[in-house]
Each structure stands twice: as C-alpha cells, then as structure tokens.
Assembly symmetry: C3
Homo-oligomer: 192 residues x 3
Amino acid sequence: MQIYTRTGDKGYTKIIGGIQLAKDSQRIKAYGTIDELNSFVGYAITLIKNNDSLKKELIQIQQYLFDCGNDLATPTGKGTYRVTSALTEWIEKCIDAHAGVPQEVESFILPGGSQAASILHICRTIARRAEREIVTFQWTNDMNEEVLIFVNRLSDYFFSIARVANANEGIEDVLYERSGKVFHMDLKKEDL
Amino acid sequence: MQIYTRTGDKGYTKIIGGIQLAKDSQRIKAYGTIDELNSFVGYAITLIKNNDSLKKELIQIQQYLFDCGNDLATPTGKGTYRVTSALTEWIEKCIDAHAGVPQEVESFILPGGSQAASILHICRTIARRAEREIVTFQWTNDMNEEVLIFVNRLSDYFFSIARVANANEGIEDVLYERSGKVFHMDLKKEDL
Amino acid sequence: MQIYTRTGDKGYTKIIGGIQLAKDSQRIKAYGTIDELNSFVGYAITLIKNNDSLKKELIQIQQYLFDCGNDLATPTGKGTYRVTSALTEWIEKCIDAHAGVPQEVESFILPGGSQAASILHICRTIARRAEREIVTFQWTNDMNEEVLIFVNRLSDYFFSIARVANANEGIEDVLYERSGKVFHMDLKKEDL
Ligand code: B12
Ligand code: B12
Ligand code: B12
Ligand SMILES: C[C@H]1O[C@@H](n2cnc3c(N)ncnc32)[C@H](O)[C@@H]1O
Ligand SMILES: C[C@H]1O[C@@H](n2cnc3c(N)ncnc32)[C@H](O)[C@@H]1O
Ligand SMILES: C[C@H]1O[C@@H](n2cnc3c(N)ncnc32)[C@H](O)[C@@H]1O
Ligand SMILES: [Mg+2]
Ligand SMILES: [Mg+2]
Ligand SMILES: [Mg+2]
C-alpha cells in the first residue's frame, strides 16, 4: 500500500462522507488536535512504570479519542456518533477511583515530578488546547456535544493521574508559592 | 555574543530583508511551527536505537526544515527559495523504501508503541499542525508552494517510520477497534 | 475533594474576579499556552543530569510562569500583578552567566543533541508560541506588559541553556548547512 496520495497538496482535504474542506478549517483543527493529544498519550504510556491497570486505562482513552475524532470528522447526516455520556461517566469513575491516592492540596502545583507525571501534565494542557479548538468549532457548527463534555473531563483526569503517578513513586508535588487556596475541599458533587 | 537584543519586546519582529511584522502574523506562525516541529524531530533522534541510517535521514530532514523556514521567512523578491520538488522526490523515495518493513494494516492504529514510535507520531501530528498554518498563510500570500507539498508528504513520512520503529523492536501496532477499512491496498501510485 | 465541577461543559469558564468568558477567548489561549509551556519545563527538569543549579533555575522559572499566568488571568482592577522588570533582569543575568559555557556560533544550529537539550529547544519554541498568543491578546486588551517582555527573554534563555546542556555533555551542536552568518558577535549590549 502506498500511504501518500498527493491529493492534499493544494491545501484541501476530505472528511467522512467525502465533502471537501480547506485543511485549515476549524473542523480539521479540532480533530487534528485530538490526534496530537492521542500521540502524547501514546508517549505517556511508554513512561508509566509498574502500573499495568493505568496503562490499560490510557489505551482505552486512546480508543475513545479516536471516537472523538470520528464524531468531529462526521458532518451531520453522514454517519452515526460514537461518543455518548457513558464515556464521561466512565472517566468520572476513573477520576473518583484515583482521588484517594495522592495527598489533598489546596494550592496549585508545579506541573512536573516524575517523567510520567510530567508527560501527563503535558497531556492535560494539550487536552485543554483541543477543548479550545472544539469550542470554537461548535459555536457555528452542529456537532455531538458529548465530545466537548468528555474532553473537558479528560483534562481533569490527566491532572488526577499526574498526581497519582508522583504519589506512586513517592514524589511530592511542589506547590506554587504564591498560590491562593484554589482547590476547595468543601466543593462536593452535591453542590454542582 | 549576546543572544538577546530586546528589539522584540513590543510584539514586533523582522523577517529576511528587514521588513517589520507583528509577531502574531501568519508568516511568523507558519515558520514558528516549523521550528517547533524541528525541535521535536531533534528529540525523536535521541530515542532511535540501533538504526544509524534512520538517524541520518532525520538529520537531513532537520536541514530541510530549515530550508522550509527560510522560504517562509523570505518575502517575494527578498531572496531565493531553497525548497524544490527534489526534496519531495527524496522523501517519497524514503517512504517507499520503508514501506516494506512493517505489516500492512487496513485499520487506523493507535499512535504509540516504543518511545521512538510515539515521538514520531507526535512529529506526524505537529507536521500536520504546521501544514495547517502554512495553508492559512498561502491563501493570501505569495509563497513557494513546494514547501506546502513537502510538509504534506512529511506527515506521511513520519507515519511510515513510526511503524518502522515499532516493527524493528518487534512491537505490534494496536488497532483502533471501531475503525473501518480505511487504508486501501488497491490504491496505487498509478491511480493517483 | 472532587476536581471536576462540570461548570465548563458548555464552552464557558471563569477568570480571576469571577467574570465569565468563552474558553476560546484570547485571554484563555494566552495563559493556557503558558500552562502548556510550564508542563514542558517540568519534563525538561526530569532530563537534566548532574546539574542541580540548572534544575533549581528551571523550578524558579516554573514559579515565574505561574506569576505570568496569574497576571494574564487577572482583568484590570481585579487583582495585583506579580510580574515585574525584576524577573526579566534575573533571567538576563542567567543568560549572561550561561553565555560563556558553549562555543560561540555564527550559524543557526539544528535543535537537538542530548535529550535535555532537545526538550529545552522544544521549550524555546513553545515559549515563542505562547509569546505569539500574548501578542494577539495585548493588541486589544489592557495587560501587564512586563509579561510579554519576560516571555520574549525566556525563549532566548532556553536557547542558551539548550546549548549549555550539550556543551556539558560534550556534544557539539550541528550547524544548519546553508545558514548565513546570522549570529553577529559584534552585536553588544551597548548597541541595543
Ligand atoms: C477522519 C480521517 C482521519 C482521522 C481519524 C479520525 C478519528 N477517528 O479519530 C485522523 C485525522 C486521525 C486521520 C489520520 C490519518 N489518516 Co486519515 N482519514 C480520515 C478520513 C477523512 C475518514 C476515515 C473514516 O473514518 N472513514 C469512515 C469509514 C469507516 O467509512 P468509509 O471511508 O466510507 O469506508 C467504508 C466503506 O465505504 C468501505 N470503503 C470505502 N472506500 C473503499 C475503498 C476500497 C478500495 C475498499 C476495499 C473499501 C472501501 O470501507 C469502509 C467500511 O469499513 C479518510 C478519507 C475519507 N474521506 O474517507 C482519511 C484516510 C483514511 N486517511 C489517510 C491517511 C494517509 C491518514 C494518516 C496516515 C495521515 C498522516 N500522515 O497522519 C493518518 C493515520 C492515523 C493512524 N493513527 O492510523 C488516507 C489513507 C490513504 C491510503 N493509502 O489508504 C485517507 C484515505 C485520506 C487520503 N485520501 O489520503 N485520518
Ligand atoms: C528567519 C530567522 C529565524 C528562523 C530561521 C528560519 C529558518 N531558516 O528556518 C527561526 C525562527 C528558526 C529563527 C530562530 C532563532 N533566531 Co533568528 N532570525 C531570523 C532572521 C529573520 C533572518 C535570518 C536569515 O536567515 N537571514 C538570511 C541571511 C543569510 O541574510 P542576512 O541576514 O542579510 O545576512 C547576510 C549578510 O548581509 C551578512 N550580514 C548581515 N548583517 C550582518 C552583520 C554583521 C555584523 C556581519 C558580520 C555580517 C552581516 O551575513 C549574511 C551573509 O552570510 C534574523 C533577523 C534578520 N532580519 O536578519 C533573525 C536572527 C538571526 N535570529 C536571532 C535569534 C536570537 C534567534 C533564536 C536564538 C531565537 C530563539 N530564542 O529561539 C533562534 C535560534 C535558532 C537556531 N536553531 O539556531 C537574532 C540573532 C541576534 C544576535 N545576537 O546575533 C536575529 C538577528 C534577530 C534579532 N534581531 O534578534 N530565526
Ligand atoms: C487562573 C486559574 C488557573 C490557571 C492558573 C493561573 C496561573 N497562575 O498560572 C491555570 C490555567 C494554570 C489553572 C489550572 C488548573 N485549574 Co484553575 N483556576 C483558575 C481560576 C480562574 C483562578 C484561580 C486564582 O488564582 N484565583 C486567585 C485566588 C488567590 O483568589 P480567589 O479565587 O478569589 O480565592 C481567595 C479567597 O477568595 C478565598 N476563597 C475563594 N473562594 C473560596 C471558597 C472556599 C470554600 C474557601 C475555603 C476559600 C475561598 O481563598 C483565596 C485566598 O487564598 C480558578 C477559578 C476562579 N475564578 O477562582 C480556577 C480553579 C481554581 N481551577 C480549577 C482546576 C480544576 C484547575 C486544574 C486542575 C484544571 C486542569 N484539569 O488542568 C488545573 C490545575 C493546575 C495546577 N498545576 O495545579 C478549579 C478547582 C475546582 C476545585 N474542585 O477546587 C477552579 C476553582 C475552577 C473551576 N470552577 O473548576 N487554573
Ligand atoms: C482552571 C481554569 O482554567 C481555565 N480554563 C478552563 N478551560 C480551559 C481550557 N480549555 N484551556 C485553558 N484554560 C482553561 C479557566 O480559567 C478555569 O477556571
Ligand atoms: C487523513 C485525514 O486527515 C485529515 N487531514 C488532512 N490534512 C490534515 C492536517 N494538516 N491536519 C489535520 N488533519 C488533516 C483529512 O480529513 C484526511 O482525510
Ligand atoms: C529569530 C527570528 O524569529 C522570529 N520570531 C520572533 N519572535 C517570534 C515568535 N514569538 N515566534 C516565532 N518566530 C518569532 C523573527 O523573525 C526573528 O527575527
Ligand atoms: Mg475544564
Ligand atoms: Mg496529508
Ligand atoms: Mg524573541
């Protein structure tokens, strides 16, 4: 098989259903950034030590990121969406399960620590960049809004497991020295 | 030598030929993203094991990325372009040479595997981000269009060698479970 | 504590002072990119070997990046700025102190070498991407202009220490073959 088709050499490309778009259109930016995030998750997986269940969780997230990409590449009426609220429920359960591991903090923490934790913070911020691209896209386009919700939760998930990765290696997160009390322990699910 | 000149502290900078531009102008975004990609290629090189010819190939690509940057930084009439169709022919030959190594797939693959493969997937997606910036630039500016063609091929090149990197370490690519048959083996050079 | 609050699921969020903004507004892009940069600095720190003073310097930079984020997240009148010209003076002293270590070059160098140097080049280019986002923001918003100056200097700082990282490991930077004489040794502080 020859991977390159030369069809995109003038700045246009196709999406699911065969419609042609400029490569810099907002839809392409949105799923292109999901693809970038997915690649960083792939790298993060290579750095996680002695935690096969976390690796498996991240591979599941890679699968779900393809589901996100699929939905963003599908214009209305040209296919069925794959991201449902079940994915968000799943990832919330993952966050809840990890929440007990690291020590609670009230201050912002410096993104870093172990290699795994550092890359997971990178994933966190790229998930947020992807979210911003999706937000721009959805102002003016019909899309599966479950994708936006899932990607929003995803960045909180990466924050949680970055902290777990450090805790597991006995590394303490370094606090931002001038931080206020930003994480409030009395914010509970019930208040939301 | 003192590296910092303080000349850019107000948001403006200069390009080849001495013309002043805002730092957030599309030309600067285009070659700034090429520079970011080049840095990731530099990191990828550090992770490739037992494959000096692939390392050499990637250093050659770093040189060519500077040629791309040069052409994007050169306004019409202020210099000669460096990127020609010969670069694209060279990279197509590289892709063809690598094509035989990994097993053919028909499904999308999760970007990951070895550390080298993961970073090469990151290079792939950043090349595509750079391509999007160049596409935006060229709608309204005169530029060397060979750069756009080369960068389009570059992302396919990174896909190919990410798969080679895994194959060389005996790592099998994980398929996207819900993928259709997206890579078609009957797409041949002759049909393009 | 529950990290996710679900308040941002529709594409809006809050800044310091409680004002609501779209997540893709330019202010959020600016400090979101600073956060991304900060995460890469976190990763860089994990790769630096036998140089505790450089590690400490980078942790200080992480603290200062939070100060930058704070100021960018603070609309006029809703808080006090934290970035002052003292930060820029500090980082210029750091650059000056590192300047003697590597061999002077007149040509552009390929971003790469050791793993630490490669990631520091990545930090350099992401600092420049952050700078571009801040530049866009400041055209139409009141902001602490010391942040822009500091971030401009920051990319030169990363260039300097990328070269130091290579020099310390005895790695010679590879030159861009077709580079002109771009770094001019007779450019001195006095001429600026
Ligand atoms: C969306 C998309 C992406 C998204 C994936 C989105 C997501 N889920 O996250 C992203 C951006 C990640 C992506 C990346 C890449 N993609 Co892509 N992608 C597409 C696109 C637009 C749709 C694919 C899709 O999911 N279709 C939905 C499927 C299920 O429906 P379908 O296409 O109609 O096919 C069904 C049937 O009709 C039938 N069928 C249709 N046509 C044909 C033809 C033949 C011969 C056969 C037998 C059957 C058949 O088979 C399917 C049933 O299972 C296609 C172009 C297109 N318009 O199809 C390119 C396409 C598949 N991508 C392509 C390429 C090259 C890539 C990349 C390698 C690019 C790169 N350098 O990064 C990467 C690989 C990523 C990876 N990790 O594997 C090429 C493949 C060329 C080839 N030689 O086969 C295509 C065809 C575009 C092109 N013309 O260049 N891609
Ligand atoms: C384009 C550009 C880039 C691009 C490179 C594009 C590419 N090819 O990919 C990118 C974005 C990658 C880049 C990055 C950087 N750059 Co730059 N870049 C430029 C720019 C705009 C043009 C350079 C160029 O290629 N010129 C073409 C050459 C061949 O032509 P020329 O300039 O006219 O020079 C010829 C003659 O006229 C003569 N000449 C001209 N002036 C002088 C002066 C003296 C004293 C002498 C002896 C000779 C001489 O020498 C050349 C013949 O060989 C210059 C600013 C400018 N307008 O010149 C900055 C400039 C060279 N960059 C500079 C800097 C600091 C950097 C970075 C360190 C910034 C950073 N922190 O990331 C990095 C280093 C990257 C690396 N890996 O080495 C500074 C150097 C300051 C200094 N102290 O010397 C400059 C001068 C901008 C500035 N005023 O701050 N850059
Ligand atoms: C700016 C900001 C950021 C910036 C930081 C900017 C910088 N300096 O670089 C960035 C983008 C980096 C960021 C990232 C994150 N953030 Co944030 N961030 C904010 C924001 C907008 C302001 C925080 C701040 O600095 N405030 C200034 C402080 C000092 O003033 P203050 O808020 O008025 O608080 C003072 C008093 O009024 C009092 N106070 C105020 N309210 C309350 C409530 C209670 C119960 C108590 C006891 C006291 C109290 O305490 C402070 C005095 O010390 C808040 C939302 C908001 N509007 O407050 C979210 C917020 C703090 N972030 C939040 C989250 C979740 C995150 C991330 C985990 C998101 C992610 N997934 O990446 C990361 C964590 C990053 C890290 N490394 O730790 C949540 C925390 C939710 C929770 N469960 O506690 C908040 C509340 C937003 C929200 N509603 O979801 N963030
Ligand atoms: C924690 C803080 O981060 C900011 N915030 C929320 N979503 C994003 C995003 N996608 N990118 C960058 N910043 C974001 C808001 O200001 C929030 O309050
Ligand atoms: C494989 C698929 O990726 C999309 N595509 C093509 N070029 C780019 C790019 N620069 N960035 C992101 N996505 C792109 C198109 O939809 C193509 O069909
Ligand atoms: C060294 C060269 O890099 C370019 N330059 C200056 N600032 C930035 C930035 N934030 N991003 C990308 N490129 C930039 C200018 O063209 C300068 O001359
Ligand atoms: Mg959020
Ligand atoms: Mg392409
Ligand atoms: Mg600068």
